[in-house]
Symmetry: C2
Subunit: 194 residues, 2 copies
């Protein structure tokens, strides 16, 4: 496999981001996560928190619409999607990198240099990580995790018309609880490097 543009989609709490970051570090290639949000914010003038929130939420859920050019209605989420897509395509043009989330697997599905990865885990593993890394919140961790992952799935479905987490959308899908974070990193590196 020649591909060195690695997209990592992940369930909230699965450690997918940690895996992605470590892969970028070990391969010595750029890592894009919040950087995408920053670029979209700069391009659009929206504040980064809003871009971050909107980028993983289903459109129409918590976003208002605004009209562009009278009768032509472009929703904020569609506009942000278009901007985000453009930023991701530009990043991929620059060369090898790791891109986390934001439907990058779909946006780069026809890029022959891209390898698409999905990381998921059992609920107990996700709860443990979320509480440890993000602390407690009013909402029970399981509800928080389910809520977040459901939003990601709905958002993905809306913009890609595909099922989030379906094996066929990725080259490699791994369960980080069963394999362990380190083994996931090693397996992915073994596959993407000749």
């Amino acid at each position: 496999m020649e591909g060195k543009i690695i997209t990592v989609s992940r369930e909230f709490g699965s450690g997918g981001r940690t895996i992605a970051k470590e892969i970028a570090k070990r391969l010595g290639i750029p890592y894009y996560d919040k950087e995408i949000i920053k670029e979209v914010a700069e391009k659009t003038g929206f504040n980064p928190e809003y871009v971050e929130e909107a980028g993983e939420h289903a459109p129409g859920k918590s976003l208002f619409s605004f009209g562009l050019g009278g009768s032509v209605g472009l929703s904020t989420s569609d506009f942000l999607w278009a901007m985000q897509r453009q930023v991701i395509l530009e990043i991929a043009q620059k060369g090898p990198c790791v891109i986390v989330g934001r439907c990058a697997d779909y946006i780069l599905k026809d890029n022959p240099d891209a390898v698409h990865i999905f990381i998921h885990a059992d609920m107990d593993f996700k709860i443990d990580r979320v509480v440890r890394l993000y602390g407690e919140s009013e909402k029970k961790p399981e509800a928080r995790i389910n809520d977040k992952n459901k939003k990601r799935a709905v958002n993905y479905k809306h913009f890609t018309n595909r099922e989030w987490g379906k094996s066929q959308n990725y080259h490699i899908a791994l369960n980080s609880k069963a394999l362990g974070i380190e083994k996931c990193i090693e397996a992915i590196l073994a596959i993407v490097t000749e």
Copy 2:
């Protein structure tokens, strides 16, 4: 990962069976595929071809029902499912092995020694393999592949209430076109052996 009971689910044409057979060979552990059909046929008295066909078809599609004990109706497919499940549980009791298809991932989902794998591929790769390995048929290869995989998905949904091919049902899911058959074998062996 301690697991050495390896279940391999696969799209028709993806090379999943080849991968499964090779893993069993390299690990020196038994490989179960047609053997399950033979055992079910022996237990039930049905002929092996019928068991094979029924085991991957959605119930009610091409199967007739027969009554057991008057008003108690047990469909043939439900009866075969129960027998097949029993055979798979017995096989897993015996120790390390590779089991192909037949919802073994679901049947052994609570077995802590089991590793569940899903193999899929792009359509052009599947067409090439199917034509090369199974020859031409009246039906176009793409229709043949889609038909077979659809039946597997419907059968899986009926008996497990889960989505066939959903990453979360497996520990490892790989695209055999992108990675290549040999790389899939190596990656799986690297993960399942410490």
